[in-house]
């Protein structure tokens, strides 16, 4: 066989392989979605590997965000009562069920990396702090991480290219990256039909239960048109699940909101790493 024939044969084989690769493969899902018990087990593992406590500094009560386009009426946030919280981890499980958070692959789990949007730092739940001046949003190349008018740091999954710059720049490590396809690997379960399962290669993090806010807003607009929507009576999954009512959700700009009412009697704290970034989620401790 001379050289040319050899090359011809090689190209024919390569072409056949390409054609074979293009054939239609029936999509069968070989793996089934995991059971709730597996998520519970993972939460227990995560709590047992609780990370070190943050260095907390006192912060003032969050006010309106001073960016163009920010709503003067709404800025949603939470306050976590450190005196009431006993670190039971029910919030983590509730968050998983609300937001369809996948399990982590085993090797990641053993390295202490979980997909959970809420993690325990020194026994206190920590999620994205929804900084008013968020460092993650500044470095996102596509604008997938951006601020909503209502003061949430949001993620547009379809716009994310997975450069993970936001994850590197988050001082508290609140962002989680989908290294694998949760559905194909049998790691994700769609508990809540209203929240999409995230694809492989995108970042995700606490959305402050954006879907609940959105539904609440639409219901308000449809039933009470012409009135201002301030998110009254709404709760996130974690605050709903907390047996001690240690997580208070509300609108920082609404004086009647349970959040403001709870926070004004207390001292507010934030991790020192983000205290200057105007966080919307804060810790409460002691009485003023």
């Amino acid at each position: 066989m001379d050289r040319r024939e050899f090359i011809k044969a090689c190209s024919v084989i390569a072409l056949m392989q390409v054609l074979w690769g293009c054939r239609r493969v029936p999509e069968v899902s070989l793996v089934s979605a995991p059971e709730l018990a597996e998520f519970e087990k993972e939460v227990r593992q995560a709590i047992s590997q609780s990370k070190g406590a943050f260095d907390l500094v006192q912060v003032p009560m969050p006010g309106a965000i001073k960016a163009p386009g920010a709503s003067p009426l709404n800025r949603f946030g939470m306050a976590i009562d450190l005196d009431a919280c006993d670190g039971c981890g029910k919030c983590i499980l509730a968050c998983i069920e609300e937001n369809n958070i996948p399990l982590s692959p085993k090797e990641q789990r053993d390295a202490g990396r979980f997909m959970h949007w809420i993690e325990m730092h020194g026994g206190a739940p920590t999620m994205c702090f929804h900084c008013g001046n968020a460092p993650c949003e500044k470095v996102c190349p596509t604008g997938a991480a951006s601020h909503s008018p209502d003061g949430l740091s949001t993620m547009m999954y379809k716009r994310c290219t997975g450069s993970r710059f936001c994850g590197a720049n988050c001082p508290v490590g609140a962002r989680k990256f989908n290294f694998v396809d949760g559905v194909k690997e049998g790691l994700a379960r769609k508990f809540n039909p209203n929240v999409p399962l995230r694809g492989k290669g995108v970042m995700e993090k606490c959305s402050l239960c954006l879907q609940r806010l959105q539904d609440h807003k639409h219901a308000h607009m449809a039933t009470l048109p012409g009135t201002e929507w301030r998110g009254n009576g709404l709760k996130t999954a974690c605050s709903e699940a907390c047996p001690k009512n240690a997580i208070v959700f509300g609108n920082w700009l609404d004086p009647k909101s349970p959040l403001v009412e709870a926070a004004k009697k207390r001292n507010l704290y934030a991790p020192s790493a983000i205290a200057s970034l105007d966080p919307s989620v804060v810790y409460m401790r002691g009485r003023r």
Binding site: G143, K200, M203
Partner: protein, 554 residues
């Protein structure tokens, strides 16, 4: 000799190709990523190769601009190594991405829907700077390559060298900002621009020295520079240690101690001695980049898997293959008149000082510079003043990093357009025009995207009255995708979801009310289920409303 090196390159490339394929296929889970920063080997390789891509232009352009031109062969080798390193470097940010097919979203191109990349992000600056650097250095290389035969090109080279001079330094500064603007404690560094530039030049010099060894050449001035830079690197590493306490024995030993062997005569005068030093520098700098990119991994040997090693091998193999194939192909064009065999010693005195670059360098540059400045000014004014759908505020300091690339790009193309146009053949011209037209059409299509009429008043609360609850539900829940007239809102839909169905009367008839209610409540394909959020009666009301909308349109 070249054939042998090409085989080595191909072997390394093949060894690494599997790792490269796996990385593309599996995404970031394929290689080791840092627990805190999520970054890994592709970014380290990117920084390393983009640094290596600087030495060529630096040696060639800056020496030329400052009036110390090196031999033609030396500078051509250096420029070719720039282009090849750049080709290797641009692969790795793509590999790094989680969703590779979305990479175009990084391009700062405003489309009609106002989607725009976030030009506050250093990654966007990176993309633009490297694209411009690649184009300009390719132009420089081509002009330099053909200037022997076309004297009209010869007068372009010095002005272009002056344009490349700041650009080269700017690009690596921007690369350093990827790290320096973050809150990662190990990446704190207002001094990173200088640190990265020094590292880039240092490693680039080592690479050029290795490549010149393959040519059986030796340029002492480069060796002197390399040795001098080793002291600066030692100072930088000392400052890193004082500031953050990070210190790696291997990096400092290979990068700052081993090069001092050049003081010994028998090392300096021995080909293998020089190669040893140059390779030691490259390994040190590669390791340094990896340690920098993955700050929470102290045990590099443990962190490296076969994919990481494979990617390293792939990058080296690709470079060697590209470089030596091009070197062999271009052959005599590169060497010019000073074709020499065997070991030659280019004395420092040989790199004779030519005339001092005077004002005549700038005469052909006047108009291009003016045009470049004009475009840059336009860009700044547009970027600072426009709020076309942008959700983030821009300030001057966010905009400045893109100024120099725009300036240099415009100036360089203005400068070269005339002379290059004259020397290209007819067929090339036609191909160029067709290509430009095609690109224009593509850009236009991308820009227009689709109709961007927002559904006016879709979410304005005032229009809704309680007697029109169904319409209110439509406006609040359905109109964001389907449009308030039922003809779907392309502005939203095109970007984020596949297109929903147009709700024409025939289609509504063919489906029937019951199945429409079913779709609304339980969802279908990309339509979300709304059970629990609206009642069945409301769904029936919505179906009636859809029919009314469709009927109004017919």
């Amino acid at each position: 000799m070249y054939r042998f090196l090409v085989y080595i390159g191909a072997a390394l490339l093949l060894l690494g190709a599997t790792a490269f394929g796996v990385s593309l296929w599996d995404g970031p889970s394929a290689w080791h990523t840092d627990g805190r920063t999520f970054w890994g080997i592709p970014i380290s390789l990117f920084v390393l190769w983009i640094g290596l891509a600087h030495a060529g232009t630096l040696i060639s352009a800056i020496f030329l601009a400052l009036g110390y031109p090196l031999g033609r062969r030396t500078s051509m080798i250096a420029e070719l190594s720039t282009l090849c390193s750049l080709a290797v470097a641009v692969l790795f940010p793509l590999v790094h991405l989680g969703v590779i097919e979305n990479f175009y979203m990084v391009v700062p191109f405003l489309d009609a829907r106002g989607n725009f990349s976030n030009i506050r992000s250093p990654l966007v600056w990176d993309f633009c700077c490297i694209a411009v650097y690649g184009m300009v250095s390719a132009l420089f290389f081509v002009s330099h390559l053909f200037c022997e035969k076309n004297p009209s090109l010869k007068s372009l080279i010095r002005p272009m060298a002056w344009l490349l001079f700041p650009l080269v330094l700017w690009v690596h500064t921007i690369v350093s900002l990827d790290f320096a603007v973050t809150f990662v404690p190990e990446w704190r560094g207002a001094f990173f621009p200088l640190y990265f530039i020094a590292g880039a030049i240092y490693s680039g010099l080592a690479l050029v020295i290795i490549l010149l060894t393959a040519e059986h050449c030796r340029v002492r001035v480069l060796e002197k520079l390399m040795l001098s830079l080793s002291w600066f690197m030692a100072a930088f590493w000392l400052w890193e240690f004082m500031l953050k306490g990070t210190f790696s024995f291997e990096v400092v030993f290979l990068g700052a101690v081993v090069p001092q062997l050049m003081w010994l005569r028998f090392i300096r005068e021995n080909t293998f001695g020089r190669l040893l030093v140059a390779f030691s520098i490259l390994i040190s700098l590669g390791l340094e980049r990896y340690i920098l990119v993955t700050p929470s991994e102290y045990d590099v040997a443990n962190a490296f898997g076969w994919v990481d090693l494979g990617l390293v091998s792939f990058s080296v193999g690709l470079f060697v293959l590209l470089f030596f194939v091009l070197r062999a192909k271009l052959g005599s064009l590169l060497e010019g008149d000073d074709v020499v065999m065997g070991e030659i010693v280019v004395q420092e005195d040989d790199t004779a000082k030519t005339d001092v670059p005077g004002r005549n360098d700038f005469t052909p540059l006047r108009f291009p510079l003016l045009l470049g400045a004009l475009f840059t000014l336009l860009y700044v004014i547009w970027a600072v003043s426009c709020d076309n759908g942008m959700v983030f505020p821009l300030s001057v300091e966010n905009v400045v990093p893109l100024c120099l690339p725009i300036f240099v790009l415009v100036a360089c193309f203005t400068l070269c357009a005339g002379p290059l146009w004259k020397i290209t053949g007819k067929r090339t011209k036609i191909v160029c025009i067709v290509l430009a037209g095609f690109l224009g059409i593509l850009a236009g299509a991308f820009w227009s995207g689709g109709s961007s009429e927002a559904p006016s008043g879709a979410v304005s609360v005032q229009e809704l009255t309680s007697s029109k609850t169904i319409e209110g539900i439509w406006m609040s829940r359905c109109a964001s995708c389907h449009g308030n007239d039922g003809m779907f809102n392309e502005k939203f839909v095109r970007e984020y979801y596949p297109l929903p169905q147009k709700l024409s009367l025939e289609r509504l008839d063919s489906l029937g009310a019951d199945s429409l209610v079913h779709v609304i409540l339980d969802g279908r394909v990309n339509m979300n289920p709304y059970r629990g959020r609206i009642t069945e009666d409301e769904a029936r009301g919505l179906v009636r409303y859809m029919r009314r909308l469709a009927g109004e349109e017919q």
